[in-house]
Structure formats: C-alpha cells, structure tokens
Amino acid sequence: MNTQDAFQLIQAKVSAPIQLLEGPTPSILVRPQGLVEVLTFAKEDPQLDCQVLTCQTGSHQEDEIRLFYHLLSHEQNHLFVFECPVPLSDPKAPSVTSLWPAANWLERETYDLLGVHFEGHPDLRRIMLPEDWEGFPLRKDYVTPTSYHDSGFDLTVDNRPSAITQSFNLSKGDEKEDE
C-alpha cells in the first residue's frame, strides 16, 4: 500500500484533518490535535497495521518544529511517514508512548535535542545531555556555548597547561640552536 492509498483510507475513517504532502518521500501531515487519533488508527487498522514506530524525530523549520513519525508494518511490509508541525513559540505535542513503548526514548531524545514537550509522556527527561544543560542543540538558532555554566572554563581558548606548550616551544628552540 502506498502513501496515497493510506491517505485516502485515513481521510475516510478519521475525523481529524490531514493533508497529503508530495515530495521525494510522500508523507501525511497531521495537526498535533489529531495526532494521537490518526496514529492510533494507523496502528489498529488491519489494512495499515503499523505495529512498529520505527523512527520518531523532528527538525527545526523557520517558526515551527516539524515532528516526523515513521511507521512500519512488518506484516504488510510498508512504511508511512507522518508529519506534525508544532509552533516554536509553544512546542507541545501529545505523546504516543501509550501506543508504542518505543516512543518513550525516541520522544525523550526529541525533547532533549529539539525541546518539544510531549504531553502525557511518563518520564520526560533529557537523555543524551546532562540534566542541567541549557538550550536545545539541534535547533537552528542554538548558540554553541563557550563555557559550561559558570565553570569559568573557556572552551574557545587553548586550555592546555602552559607546561605542555612551553616544552613544545622549547624543544623547537633547542633544535634551532643545534643547527
């Protein structure tokens, strides 16, 4: 089954508004309000039968963060992509952890790196970065920090102990003297 057929099937059965996006990989656009409804249908409908949430991620577009849900069916051997835009001003999306336990960590990663709050997530903590990290690195407006909090350790300058650099320079000088 290709994405067009799936789109028509979902449109006929589900009340939430969806939209078919053309492109190199066709996908189905869902608003956050209808996300859980559509994905539940995709999981439970025998024709779609998407038992596996194979990938959940997001990407920062201009003023929104677009979430991508890649659903896979082992039985039918097809893969559908669902997109869900959430506004950057209020990045909130419903969690699908209740549908697929795999979403737990995938959503935690998206929260960690892109700062999307998944409502209803049982354990929304940072997963890759330290708990006290500031900012969300995969957003395009992220500014790479020059120090870790107030540690005073400036990451932009050469922090090697002076002894190392000195001995390096000295040995160079010695060589010259030898010549």
């Binding site: 990989t25 194979t54 991620t57 990407s59 991508f68 082992h74 960590w105 790196l113 890759m128 970065l129």
Partner: protein, 373 residues
C-alpha cells in the same frame, strides 16, 4: 521494642566504568539482594553530537563521521549513508562496486557478530572464546585493511561507489579465510554455543515476545530472535541482495522459549553462517569493471526528506535525511538499533539477577557509540 524491621532496596551504580557495560553506559539498579527490582539505563556519555556535525559539513564530508557512529561495523554505516545520498541525487554505483560493497559489508557483519558473541561469552565468564574470536576478527581486519587501508574506521564506501578497487589476489585470500573460518566457527560452537553451562545461563532468560519486540521496535537479530522474519535485505532490497541466495535465521527456541537470550545469541551465530554463504557467492559472481560512478564534486540534492533503511549487524538502521538543496544536510537523524534495544532493558531486567543483566546487555548487542551518537 515495638519497632518493625524495615528493609530497603540497595541502589547500585553499574557503570559508567564497569567491565561489562561495553562502553560508557550507566545502569542505576535497585536490587533486593541480587535480584533487580528496577533498572534505569542512563546513556549519553558518548554523545558526540554527530547529528549536529552533519549540519555543518558537506555531503561527502560526513562519510568519515559515519565510521564513528558504529565503529564495529563502519563499512555498513558508510554504506547506509552513501546509499541514502545516492538515492537522493539519483546516482547508481557500478555493478562491481555493489559487489565489493556487499563483500566488505558482510565481512564487517561477521566481525561485528564475532564481537557480539565473544563479549557475551566473556560476560558469562568464559574469557578464552572472546580472545579466540578476536583473533578471527583480526584476519577480517587484515582483509579489510588490504582493501581499504584501515582496520577500524574504513571510510571505504563513498558516495557513488567505493574508494578503490580490491587489490590483486584479494579474492583468493578471502576464500582462504572463509575456509579457515568455517572450521574455527565449528570449534567456537563446541566451546561456547553448545556448552551446557552457557545454555543454562542464557536459555529462558529475558524472553521477548514478538508483540513486545514490535512495540519496543527491536530490529535486526534481536527482532528475528523473537520469531519475526524481517530483514531489510529482503523486505526493502538494495544493492545486489535480490540476486543472492541466503536464509534469514529466526529464533526457534532451541533451548527454551522463542525470544530468549540464547535465541538472540544463536541467531547471530547462524547469521555468520549465512554471511559466509553470501561471501562465497559474491566472490564467484563479482564482475570486472568500474568501481566509481560519476559524481559531481559539489552535491546538492533536491530539497525534501528521505528515509533510507539499511541492514547493519545491529539491524535496520534508518538514515533520516532532510535536504534544503544546499551543500550540507539540513537535518540528519540516525535511528540506530542499539538505541531501541537499550530502551527495552529496563523492562527485561526486572526480577532477574545482576548476573542476568550482564547477559541481557550482551545478548542485545548494544554498542555505546551507536547508542549515543
């Protein structure tokens, strides 16, 4: 003396430096004596922000970074990324290059599975098989070094083909190795796989039902061990795999239930056998010809998002790539098998012994750099 005796769980930090976490991973475990009550994996110690780096480098420039995503099967990672970009820009690698890719990737799959099997055996306390398997892996490293010049991070498969043709006489050396390795693998099976102590440790432990495997998105050997016959090489065939004759081993519950640790272990052993079959066929079928397609120096794939699946030793690895038509990726996400494999450990470890947790980690073949990226 009316005080009641109260007991509490003992919280133990397993890791980040622990002999059997295979890299820098931490498990916070609450135990009741030796029995695990709660296990919370804490990952991220090896996060190198590879996905962020991808947004700063060119399309070709990212290939060496894929080596570092999963250094136990760098060939497969190279290939997965190159395949994704080739699909985006509509380039097809020459036929000889495709065969070379299959050969080196299957060799790399064997070497990765050897590490998986060896470390599992080592975690069970059998140190000798690990060293023996590493010795076999050295032979594979030699072969791959002859082809690519590197032993761990190859950077061999590139967008449009492979870096260089195989050296003269390489095929003969590879056949020699296959002949030797067949015997070595038999010996290894006698030493570990059919060892009764080993079977007792692994059988009926941490059983993953097919439903659970799907819900937790297990991939590759872990998924197949639960009895689901799914392999990207068959489902979404790429390269020359449709022409090759190989089986997809699934867990049969040889010593216990389907989907236990022993099945996960045994599926890898069987996969090594199938990889050897593929290698034999490829070495016979490999044609002469070019190994590099014509690729523009500056790649600018059309805008849009792509998702390419590739069967690495750790299973279905997905490269989600979003392009905005410029010279570097707009967003790149690597969906790795270890990540979802790790998320199931908290569930599986409940009620098992500390010694079992080690077996579970080993049987799921979690590789820390791929996990944290």
């Amino acid at each position: 003396m009316n005080k009641e005796l109260t007991t509490q769980f003992m919280t133990i930090n397993m890791g980040p430096q622990h002999p059997s976490t295979h890299g820098v991973i931490r498990f916070i475990i609450d135990t009741d004596g030796e029995i695990i009550h709660r296990c919370d994996p804490d990952i991220g110690y090896l996060h190198r922000s590879i996905e962020k780096i991808a947004e700063k480098v060119t399309w070709q420039g990212f290939v060496p970074y894929t080596d570092r995503v999963d250094y136990l099967c760098a060939m497969n990672a190279n290939w997965a990324y190159s395949m994704a970009v080739e699909k985006m820009i509509g380039v097809e690698a020459p036929r000889r290059a495709e065969f070379i890719r299959v050969i080196v990737a299957e060799l790399n799959r064997i070497s990765s599975h050897l590490i998986a099997i060896g470390t599992t055996a080592m975690d069970m306390g059998a140190f000798t098989p690990f060293i023996q398997l590493l010795r076999e892996r050295e032979y594979i490293n030699d072969l791959l070094e002859m082809a690519s010049g590197a032993r761990l991070t190859y950077n061999y498969i590139c967008i449009g083909g492979v870096m260089a043709d195989l050296p003269l006489g390489w095929s003969e050396k590879c056949e020699e190795f296959i002949h030797h390795f067949d015997l070595a693998m038999e010996q290894m099976n006698r030493l570990v796989t059919y060892n009764q102590i080993f079977i007792n440790r692994m059988a009926n432990l941490a059983v993953v039902s097919p439903q659970m495997a799907q819900a937790y998105n297990l991939v590759g050997p872990n998924l197949r061990a639960s009895g689901i016959k799914r392999d990207v090489r068959r489902d979404a065939p790429y390269s020359v795999y449709p022409e090759l004759d190989f089986e997809i081993p699934v867990g049969k519950g040889l010593e216990g239930e389907v989907g236990d640790c022993y099945d996960r272990f045994f599926v890898r052993v069987e996969e090594i056998r199938e990889s050897l079959r593929i290698l034999r066929q490829c070495l016979k079928m490999i044609p002469e010809g070019e190994v590099m397609a014509k690729v523009k120096k500056t790649i600018k794939p059309p805008a849009g998002h792509y998702y390419v699946r590739h069967e690495t030793p750790r299973g279905d690895t997905g490269y989600f790539i979003q392009s905005d038509g410029t010279t570097s990726p707009y967003r790149l996400k690597i969906r790795s098998g270890s990540f979802t494999g790790m998320s199931i450990i908290g569930e599986l470890a409940k009620g098992t012994f500390i010694a079992d947790l080690v077996a579970i980690i080993g049987s799921l073949d979690v590789v820390a750099p791929e996990l944290d990226r």
